[in-house]
């Protein structure tokens, strides 16, 4: 049980660390896009590479921030029964859901994307625009990293659920989230 707990903690720390740092990309998006607006509307200049860096930031933000979001319960659920369910049933839902939904899906996307990403590496794929960012193959690789991180976070969820159901850990705390 101690092994499970320490593995789960390690995974959580990774997600926490990555999420905490990647979150700043949200600010970067606002600042870069604002700079693009000023440059375009005031000084009449533009750069495709800078424009594309906003797209890169966006993709990295949601893909790498996803396991942090899962850890903090930010992926939206249908709350009809879950909200009022006992901590035990919640743990069971999370245990089964991670094992039979989350992890299989992420493994499937990983396998389905493998050739897509590796063929991008073979040609070191660049942007379709001539002056765009030349690291499209790196960006595509993040799909695989996303899948990997989500599988890990799924494993951590399973461990936490087992630890709670066997009485070795307290129930996770509820967090509140913005609703758009």
């Amino acid at each position: 049980m101690n092994g499970l707990a320490s593995m789960a903690r390690t995974i959580d720390r990774i997600s926490e660390f990555v999420g905490n740092n990647v979150a700043w990309l949200a600010l970067a998006m606002v600042l870069i896009q604002f700079a693009v607006v000023l440059a375009r509307y005031v000084f009449g200049v533009g750069s495709i590479a800078v424009q594309e860096s906003i797209i890169y930031s966006h993709a990295l933000l949601f893909l790498l921030g996803s396991s942090f979001t899962l850890l903090h319960g930010g992926h939206v659920r249908v709350d009809i029964f879950y909200a009022d369910a006992s901590p035990r049933s919640k743990a069971v839902v999370d245990l089964l859901g991670s094992s039979f939904l989350l992890i299989p899906v992420c493994i499937a996307i990983f396998i389905l994307s493998w050739n897509y990403v590796s063929s991008s590496w073979e040609v070191l794929e660049v942007s379709r625009e001539s002056s765009g960012i030349e690291y499209v193959y790196v960006l595509k690789t993040v799909i695989l990293i996303f899948c990997g991180m989500m599988v890990l976070q799924g494993i951590s969820t399973i461990f936490h659920s087992i630890l709670f159901l066997t009485g070795n850990e307290a129930a996770p705390q509820e967090e509140t989230h913005e609703v758009i």
Binding site: G19, N20, V22, A23, A26, M29, V30, L31, Q33, F34, V36, V37, L38, Y41, V42, F43, G44, V45, I54, I55, H58, A59, L61, F62, L63, G65, S66, F68, T69, L70, G74, H75, V76, R77, V78, D79, I80, F81, Y82, A83, K90, V93, D94, L96, G97, L101, L102, P104, V105, A108, I109, L112, S113, Y116, V142, I143, H177, E178, V179, I180
Partner: protein, 528 residues
């Protein structure tokens, strides 16, 4: 019924059932789809190679999506504005301004709801803030708790229909794709593109119409049943004098300026939603920085004003860099522009430092990341679901079903609206937009239906789903902050009149589609 059709239908049913368990939606949708695809493949009725399109969907639809990058930007702007306490200040001053008329507190809730909707647009936060501030005031002054609860929930959901709204960005992208698909089917290979801006323009009048209808309901109630919404006694008020006027301006000016800058620039066709959202995000950072220390705000005011001055300057002088010969006017203009830029950067730096020290910046960034992840991972999950559904021939089934509806176009639209309304009891607008809209919208749009009108009808329908008991999100959020004397039953009863108003508004939009289509046709010259 053929086996493959049973699979397609079964997948939908299974997904709805599995969702009820409460595991995150994104993985439930895709997990069920994966399971069904595997089983169907095993019995030989599913071509598994269809799933090969998945990575390009993930990359093309979720990651490299120039329209949807407006989502994180609008979220950032909304959450940052919320932290600068715009809502609280507006509620206080508007309550004072309108409190002495019959039904005045109710009216002030709707006005604040509309202002917040046009600036922050974050439904949960609006309902929570109003539930904590306006609800106790209304109860203390003898308002019918049902009316108060209903009014707060309804005005909170305005954020979804009044532009700029995140729902409209996401929906606009889906409608735009659906319209292109539909036009190809009927042989038009270069259709007029539908933009998010079109949807914003289309939603403006219907949104304001809703606010008007809410207020009318409140006023009628105040005269028919005066005890439901009494006047606030005079001694509860500050004198309406110079300092009060200043307070009102202090509360009103920031949201109004932001609305003008963000919504105004989109509707005038100056800027794309993405560009406008970034300017709004910048405005929100400046405002938050200012509110943290109002006494030392000269540079921040200066920065805000300088942004406007720079844009005006660019219209007077030719400030384009990289010209071979610069005229003296250009050189003069450029010097001025760079001086203004320096002020903007200084004000921005001060604001950023303040919001960072107060811990607001980190919080806002994290919230933006979580909402962004939530939305786009659902997009990925929904993409897998849609691929499998299509692979099982589900699209054709829905097409045949909708085309065979009695009443033709009308019957098909009514069916779709009813399905979305009922799905809205259980599902969030994001799932409905990513899963249901791509399936049904291309079919409806082949029937010569205006895409902007369809988009706004769906948006208002989804907004209603936030209000419908027992699972509407707005009710859930109000429940969390309402004082114990306001029971859940009161909240449910209180929103029913507003749900009816919504349905009435939908009927009005179907009888008079011009309420939606007129503004886009005037502004963007769009005729579909």
């Amino acid at each position: 019924m053929e086996l493959v059709e049973i699979f397609a239908l079964g997948m939908f049913g299974l997904a709805v059932l599995a969702l009820m368990a409460g595991f995150p939606v994104a993985f439930t949708l895709s997990g069920v789809a994966l399971f069904v695809a595997g089983t169907a493949w095993a019995v030989g009725i599913f071509d598994i190679s269809i799933l090969g399109a998945m990575p390009s969907r993930v990359f093309g639809n979720a990651m490299w999506n120039e329209i949807l990058i407006a989502v994180p930007l609008f979220v950032f702007m909304g959450v940052m504005l919320e932290r600068s306490k715009v809502a609280e200040e507006l509620l206080l001053t508007m309550g004072m301004l309108f409190g002495q008329m019959r039904g005045g507190l109710g009216i002030s809730v709707f006005i604040v709801g509309a202002l917040l909707a046009a600036s922050t647009g974050i439904v949960g936060a609006t309902v929570v803030t109003m539930g904590m501030m306006a609800l106790p005031t209304m109860l203390k002054n003898g308002y019918d708790p049902k009316l108060a609860a209903g009014a707060i929930c309804a005005s909170g959901t305005l954020g979804q229909i009044i532009p700029p709204s995140i729902v409209l960005v996401i929906l606009g992208e889906q409608i735009s794709n659906a319209y292109v698909d539909a036009q190809r089917v009927i042989g038009n290979w270069s259709p007029e593109p539908v933009s998010v801006g079109d949807l914003f323009a289309g939603a403006l009048l219907p949104g304001l119409m809703l606010v008007g209808m809410y207020m009318l309901y409140q006023l009628i109630l105040a005269y028919v049943r005066p005890e439901s919404s009494p006047v606030v006694p005079r001694d509860d008020f500050e004198e309406i004098d110079g300092s009060f006027v200043l307070k009102v301006l202090h509360a009103l000016l920031p949201p109004i300026l932001l609305i003008l800058a963000v919504l105004g620039s989109i509707l005038m066709g100056f800027a794309t939603p993405t560009e406008a959202a970034a300017v709004g995000g910048m405005g929100a950072i400046l405002l938050s920085g200012l509110r943290l220390d109002e006494k030392h705000g000269k540079l921040i005011y200066g920065a805000g004003i300088s942004i406007f001055l720079m844009l005006i300057l660019a219209n007077i002088f030719d400030l384009r860099l990289g010209q071979t010969v610069y005229s003296s006017g250009t050189i003069f203009g450029l010097i001025l522009a760079f001086a203004l830029l320096a002020v903007v950067l200084a004000g921005l730096a001060i604001s950023l430092k303040r919001v960072y020290r107060a811990g607001i910046l980190k919080d806002v960034c994290k919230s933006t990341m979580e909402i962004s992840s939530m939305v786009f991972v659902i997009l990925i999950g929904a993409a897998l679901f849609s691929l499998v559904f299509r692979g099982l021939g589900g699209d054709d089934m829905v097409h045949d079903f909708l085309s065979s509806m009695p009443g033709g176009k009308f019957g098909a639209i009514l069916t779709v609206m009813l399905v979305i309304f009922f799905l809205g009891f259980f599902l969030d607008f994001i799932e409905i937009t990513f899963v249901v809209v791509p399936i049904v919208a291309p079919i409806i749009l082949q029937m010569d239906v205006n895409p902007v009108w369809l988009g706004i009808m769906i948006a208002m329908n989804l907004q209603t789903s936030f209000l419908t008991p027992p699972f509407g999100f707005a009710l859930f959020y109000l429940r969390g902050v309402a004082p114990p004397e306001v029971t859940t039953a009161m909240i449910y009863k209180g929103v029913i009149p507003f749900v009816l108003i919504q349905l009435f508004a939908l009927v009005l939009l179907s009888i008079f589609p011009e309420i939606v289509t007129w503004l886009p046709s005037v502004i963007f010259d769009s005729h579909y």
